[in-house]
């Protein structure tokens, strides 16, 4: 609990500067921002790879095999897990401290319209994205609830035949967009990059990035789930209807 952690900075400054930095409010935020920006780079590469789905089964499976056969893949995956863990763990700790910082809530809180839909829902969208990632990795990477086979294209598009699964993707990806709409430009501010000339540009680029990522990823479940049902055998057809969402936890 944050109350128990509070005394940590009180102690005489420890010799380890890194620990002091990570325990500090600003240090935590800087780490969350850095990890978040690296995760944005991953999102771009992931989107580029996923859009190969639109080139059809053989092209996508070739891409998947190329990725799988790369000996550096486990290293990249491990790095990705570490980035996620840093981002989530420190953001959760900051959130708990923030809740403790105002123990008695206002009866009326209105503010002065500085908050955005993205900024005021970061914890909510972050949680949604985390749940999404767990389900996504379980069903697509580890193929829980589906037959493991070489035909990854059929496996992926098969999942989207389930409207519940595709619908959840749509909701979660809108959440990703909202999260990024605040997160990207906010990360630059946290890293100390605020400049009268560049900040408006960073804000515009952050919004554009959020829209690009959200729409790019949304195109996949929308197309394969609601527009075209690619002629592919659904993975483990019997488990399809309610399996993916309920069964993944």
């Amino acid at each position: 609990m944050p109350a128990a952690e509070a005394p940590a900075p009180t102690a005489p400054r420890c010799n380890c500067r890194a620990v002091e930095f990570l325990e500090s409010s600003i240090g935590k935020k800087i780490m969350v921002a850095l990890a978040g920006l690296f995760l944005c780079v991953f999102l771009l590469t992931h989107l580029a790879g996923n859009l190969i789905l639109f080139l059809g089964g053989p092209a996508f499976d070739r891409y998947a095999q190329m990725l799988e056969s790369n000996p550096l893949l486990p290293l990249a995956e491990g790095g990705l897990v570490v980035l996620f863990l840093i981002h989530i763990a420190l953001a959760v700790r900051a959130r708990l401290a923030n809740m403790a910082a105002r123990p008695v809530a206002y009866q009326v809180y209105k503010g002065k319209d500085a908050r955005t839909p993205g900024s005021s829902t970061m914890a909510l969208t972050g949680t949604l994205v985390l749940v999404f990632i767990i389900i996504h990795v379980a069903t697509i990477k580890f193929q829980v609830g589906g037959a493991k086979g070489p035909d990854l294209f059929g496996h992926v598009t098969g999942w989207f035949h389930n409207p519940l699964y595709a619908g959840f993707y749509v909701v979660a990806l809108i959440g990703v967009g909202l999260h990024l709409s605040h997160g990207v430009q906010s990360a630059f501010q946290t890293l100390g990059l605020n400049h009268p000339r560049y900040t408006p540009m960073i804000k515009a680029l952050g919004a554009a990035f959020a829209i690009l990522i959200a729409l790019g990823f949304l195109s996949i479940p929308v197309y394969f789930g609601f527009i075209v049902h690619a002629p592919a055998t659904p993975p483990n057809g019997a488990a399809m209807p309610s399996g993916p969402i309920g069964g993944a936890q």
Binding site: A6, P9, T10, R13, R17, E20, F21, S24, S25, I26, G27, K28, K29, I30, A94, A97, N98, A100, A101, R102, P103, V104, A105, Y106, Q107, V108, Y109, K110, G111, K112, D113, A114, R115, T116, S119, S120, M122, H182, Q185, S186, Q189, T190, L191, G192, L193, N194, H195, P196, T199
Partner: protein, 257 residues
């Protein structure tokens, strides 16, 4: 109260947070104030309410105030969920009743943060800010003859930026308005006003480290860049000062010995 005044006076319903002391849970109490002139400031309206309460033998509502001209940083109040009320770049004492109309209901609460405990009613203890200042919000200057005025050259733009940061009156509206009760705008302004000027350089790293530590120790929240602080600040302190604080702290962590 002449009939003339009554003709143009407003009748208002106030929901005011009443709390006997720090341990009392407190709650909103409804009051009617009659005959409020649009010329009055918000605090004068509260004075009228208190006169009415005292005349009835009840306890007056405790609230902080001092200069009543927007420069001391003493008045506070969360008015209908907005720190210092609905106006931009104004303190509560600069808010006038012409902003309201007859029959309005106004909710008045104290600034809320763990680091700003309620003393009584609408009065909160903001000495956490003083302790942050004492940790490093100063420059150490040896006594002696005054230096030549132009001995230390400071670009005009830099001086302006430092002055903008120094305009902070330490009222705590940034903390009150922040969804996380963070004090980053206040600390950002105080660190910036020295970090920008040559006089602040000798203690630059020590100041950033010490003021950050003091801020966290008081139990303020983490900044999530929602910028409600900037919108609420009566002195229009910019969030670029928060970015500078982030930079100063990062730099101090890396370079100081």
């Amino acid at each position: 109260m002449t009939t003339n005044n009554e003709a143009k006076g407003m009748n208002l319903t106030l929901k005011i947070w009443r709390q006997k002391d720090a341990r009392d849970p407190g709650g909103l109490v409804e009051y009617k104030v009659e005959n409020v002139s649009p010329e009055m400031s918000f605090l004068e309206m509260l004075d009228v309410l208190n006169e009415q309460l005292v005349a009835k033998g009840q306890d007056a509502v405790a609230f902080d105030h001092d200069c009543r001209e927007g420069i001391c940083g003493m008045c506070s109040l969360m008015i209908d969920g907005q720190a210092h009320g609905p106006d931009k770049a104004a303190t509560t004492c600069q808010l006038h009743m012409r902003r309201y109309k007859d029959g309005d209901t106004i909710t008045v609460e104290p600034f809320r943060a763990k680091a700003f405990p309620v003393v009584r009613d609408l009065v909160v203890d903001r000495s956490a800010f003083d302790r942050i200042q004492q940790a490093g919000g100063f420059v150490s200057v040896n006594t002696g003859n005054a230096r030549d005025a132009n001995g230390v050259l400071i670009p005009h733009e830099t001086a302006e930026k430092a002055m903008d940061a120094a305009a902070c009156i330490g009222c705590g509206a940034c903390v009150a308005a922040c969804p996380n009760a963070s004090a980053m705008l206040f600390v950002g302004a105080k660190v910036s006003q020295y970090a920008l000027l040559p006089q602040g350089q000798p203690e630059r790293e020590k100041r950033a480290l010490a003021m950050r530590a003091a801020m966290d120790e008081e139990g303020f929240g983490h900044c999530t860049n929602e910028y409600e602080c900037e919108a609420a600040c009566p002195k229009e302190i910019k969030v670029s000062n928060i970015a500078r604080l982030n930079r100063e702290y990062l730099r101090a962590t890396l370079v100081s010995e």
